[in-house]
Structures are given as structure tokens and as C-alpha cells.
């Protein structure tokens, strides 16, 4: 049911969205998230970005989190596409498409998958600026975003 691709080529958001809903009468909501290479402004503007990945592990790690998403939410389809290689501002980087009967599950699953792609999928970004190349440092807020999915669920019936 899930489609996972790591590729150098671009992807077609509309085509992927159609593909996930087609022929499935239970799909009532499709959420698509597209991550795009951002230029930034001024001296910090980037000219290009190169994404390195760990072949084999990247697919495996994404599949593991897709399975986890399917356990947590009643999904009718999931597509994750992550590009690698050299990208310029405006290029697509990553696509997450989730389909479910109702929007809440599709939104939550898409956010869950993106948070884990940021922190657990073995990809590394190197940015090119006027001053040279530099590896992107991991952000604490990305770790925090992923962490909230592992925090113990609050019991709504707890007396305290």
C-alpha cells in the first residue's frame, strides 16, 4: 500500500496525489506535504544544496516509520519520495502524501512522517553559498518535534 522512493529525479505532486486516491472508495482526505529548497536572502542566500544519503538504510528507515504511521492511524495510502543529489532553490526535496477517510488522521500522519524524516532518515544537506560549502547542522527544534511523538500519551481520565 505504501510507496517509498529515493530518487535523483523530480516528482509530480499532482500525479502522486491522484495515484493514491484512485480506485479507493474509502479515501475521503489526502494530505500532501512538499519540502522545497529555500534560497534565503542576503549574504546567507544559498546557491544550491546537495543531499547525501545512506542507500539501503534510507529506504529501510522510512519504511519503518511508514509502518509505524499505519499502526497509529487508519491510513488508506502513504507515499514518501525523498530526492538526493544537487538541488537549486525552488526545487522539490521531499514529498509526503497520506490518505485516510477523514482529514485528522491524514494531517497527523503526514506531520509524524515529516518529523521523523527530519531527524531519523539518513540524509545530510550541504549548502553552497558565495563563501563556500557547509554542512547543515541538525536543529534542536527538529529533535523536539520528533520527540513529542514518543512522549507518553496523556491520560485524559487521570484524576491528577
Amino acid at each position: 500500500m505504501a510507496t517509498i522512493r529515493i530518487q535523483r529525479e523530480d516528482f509530480d505532486v499532482a500525479a502522486e496525489q491522484r495515484a493514491i486516491a484512485q480506485g479507493n472508495d474509502e479515501v475521503g482526505a489526502v494530505v500532501t506535504f512538499t519540502g522545497i529548497c529555500r534560497a534565503g536572502t542576503g549574504v546567507d542566500a544559498i546557491a544550491a544544496m546537495t543531499l547525501e544519503h545512506y542507500p539501503g538504510m534510507a529506504e529501510q528507515e522510512i519504511a519503518r516509520h511508514v509502518e509505524e504511521a499505519e499502526r497509529r492511524w487508519p491510513l488508506k495510502g502513504v507515499t514518501v519520495i525523498h530526492r538526493h543529489g544537487r538541488l537549486v532553490p525552488g526545487d522539490n526535496i521531499v514529498l509526503v502524501v497520506t490518505a485516510s477517510s477523514h482529514r485528522g488522521d491524514a494531517f497527523a500522519a503526514a506531520e509524524f512522517l515529516m518529523d521523523f524524516l527530519k531527524t531519523r532518515a539518513p540524509f545530510w544537506k550541504q549548502e553552497e553559498r558565495a563563501g563556500g560549502k557547509s554542512w547543515v547542522a541538525a536543529k534542536n527544534e527538529d529533535d523536539a518535534a520528533a520527540e513529542r511523538w514518543t512522549a507518553p500519551a496523556r491520560r485524559s481520565d487521570a484524576a491528577e
Binding site: M57, E61, M114, D142
Partner: protein
């Protein structure tokens, strides 16, 4: 044992992968980081701040205390920045 490196760990060490015979007393991922760091300046530089190093055994994330026994491929890389 095959060891693979990514991103700036790969750049600092100067190779993408290598096959190394590791002494029997190097039992964990943490031991391996320590042992590699003694091999030369490039390794010492790559592993100078162990907190910024992530590891995987056979393509699964592991901690420092993970055992190397039976591992086919160990990977070292910085915190991930995909998505």
C-alpha cells in the same frame, strides 16, 4: 568488518568506506570510536566531538553500547538533516 562514513565524517576521514580487522577487545560502537580515533589525525578529527556522531549497525540506528559481534556493516555519520 566494513565501515562506512557519510557527510562531514566521510570528508574528515577522507574515504567513503573501508574494510578493517578490529581487535577482539573492541566490542562496542563506543569502543570502535575510541579505537578508530587512535588510528590517525583524520580519525581523531572526525571523532573529536563524539556527541555529534551517530552510528548504525547493518543499517539500523544504534547507541554507543551496541555490540559489534556479528555486525557486517557499521556506519558513522553526523546528526541527520533530511526532509
Amino acid at each position: 568488518m566494513k565501515i562506512v562514513y557519510f557527510a562531514w565524517v566521510r570528508e574528515r576521514i577522507g574515504k567513503t568506506d573501508e574494510d578493517i580487522d578490529v581487535p577482539a577487545d573492541v566490542r562496542t560502537v563506543g569502543d570502535l570510536i575510541g579505537w578508530l580515533s587512535e588510528r590517525g589525525e583524520e580519525y581523531a578529527y572526525a571523532f573529536e566531538n563524539p556527541k555529534t556522531i551517530r552510528a548504525a549497525i547493518d543499517r539500523t540506528h544504534v547507541n554507543r553500547d551496541a555490540q559489534l559481534a556479528g555486525a557486517r556493516e557499521i556506519a558513522f555519520f553526523p546528526p541527520m538533516t533530511g526532509g
